[in-house]
Symmetry: C2
Subunit: 227 residues, 2 copies
């Protein structure tokens, strides 16, 4: 298979957590969220090249954490940009190797499994663009001018990361001007209207840590897995 | 305020849990899920009338559980029907009192808070129909004939229970023939096209226990609250 890269985007400033510490650095069980995230990809493939995008002002702190937790997995640190789009773009710009497979992952999704990562990279290697989705399990309503209406939840799915791409596709997509309709990396590719995108099965446990409750939920999930 | 009723629907046969025991009977911390659920409503209002809809074949087991856990909150037991719709209808049929406020709640949502319950009952008393919703926090995609597309998640919300109604409205709605487009009780009312329905703020913690992971998550949430 082609060389794999993973760009881990950790731009969080921590404001939504009600904590001073950015959420990617919060301690989940015995180590920071971001160490879990990086380990998930290293455990999937020890030859994957890891690029961590981090706000410049957090890089010293991250280096201290790596020392404190004796964290030795090799990774390149790149400075974040003004928005997530700009952060991803900075990460992509450091990849000069041609014809590789590039995943992009939220730093605050530490529980992503080997299976989910593998499905995304395998499908992207075959089709060019792949990303994990999970079904909507609750009743879903859509706002309309006259109030909201129930829609058929089976017609919808929720999108997770890693979103994985052939390098030429994702680099071309990120040549576009920034738009605030870009909610994730797949939507950046879709705005080119040139490529088909492919869903693979995600996992409910692959949660994004955005609130204090999420951190507790993540701890429970890890504890079940260790049993 | 008018007399309040809550119909708690616990029809689960347990097949999705990978366990033999129906999920409403699983032990959450120190007692069955269903006991937590009933206590949530009793703690909200000690004068609320509680109707529990349970498959006939589970009623003996439930009575044993009540004895075992010394559970004394007064509630009426009604037999479940073929589908959730029929179960709710059976519950509604036992309410003969006029001009009351009736809530309908999933038996497997034990973590519903007093605040959420209160918002639903207060709004329903004022407007006739109220239900709790939470925002969609992940990227949402909609299936189309040409594959899926990203939609604006801010236009959507996820629906929880309790869904609460003026008794005349919900009883009239349940006079309709069953349709498989009825995904929740609000959608039954909406198919009459006569009444406006009102959203109130739900809570992420008000989860529906449908998988083994959910049970662990629920335990963590309870443990945080007790701290």
């Amino acid at each position: 298979m082609k060389q794999k890269y993973i760009i881990i985007v950790a731009g969080g400033k921590g404001t939504r957590m009600g904590a001073e510490i950015p959420k990617q650095f919060l301690i989940l069980n015995d180590k920071p969220v971001l160490i879990h995230t990086i380990e998930s990809f290293f455990n999937y493939d020890k030859t994957i090249k890891i690029i961590l995008v981090l706000p410049e002002e957090q890089q010293n702190y991250w280096n201290e954490l790596c020392a404190k937790f004796d964290f030795k997995i090799n990774h390149q640190i790149v400075s974040g940009g003004e928005t997530r789009f700009h952060s991803v773009k900075n990460g992509l710009d450091t990849i000069t190797e041609k014809d590789v497979i590039i995943g992009i992952h939220d730093g605050v999704r530490p529980l992503v499994s080997k299976d989910v990562i593998g499905r995304c990279f395998d499908k992207a290697a075959e089709k060019g663009v792949a990303f994990p989705v999970i079904p909507v399990v609750e009743t879903l309503r859509k706002k309309t001018e006259k109030g909201s209406i129930t829609v058929n939840r089976a017609d919808y799915c929720l999108v997770q990361t890693p979103q994985v791409f052939n390098s030429e596709i994702i680099k071309k997509a990120y040549q576009q001007e920034f738009s605030d309709t870009f909610t994730d990396d797949v939507s950046v590719v879709e705005s080119l209207s040139e490529y088909s995108v492919y869903e693979v099965e995600g996992a409910r446990e692959n949660i994004k840590i955005t609130t204090p409750v999420d951190l507790i939920i993540a701890e429970s999930i890890i504890n079940i897995k260790m049993k």
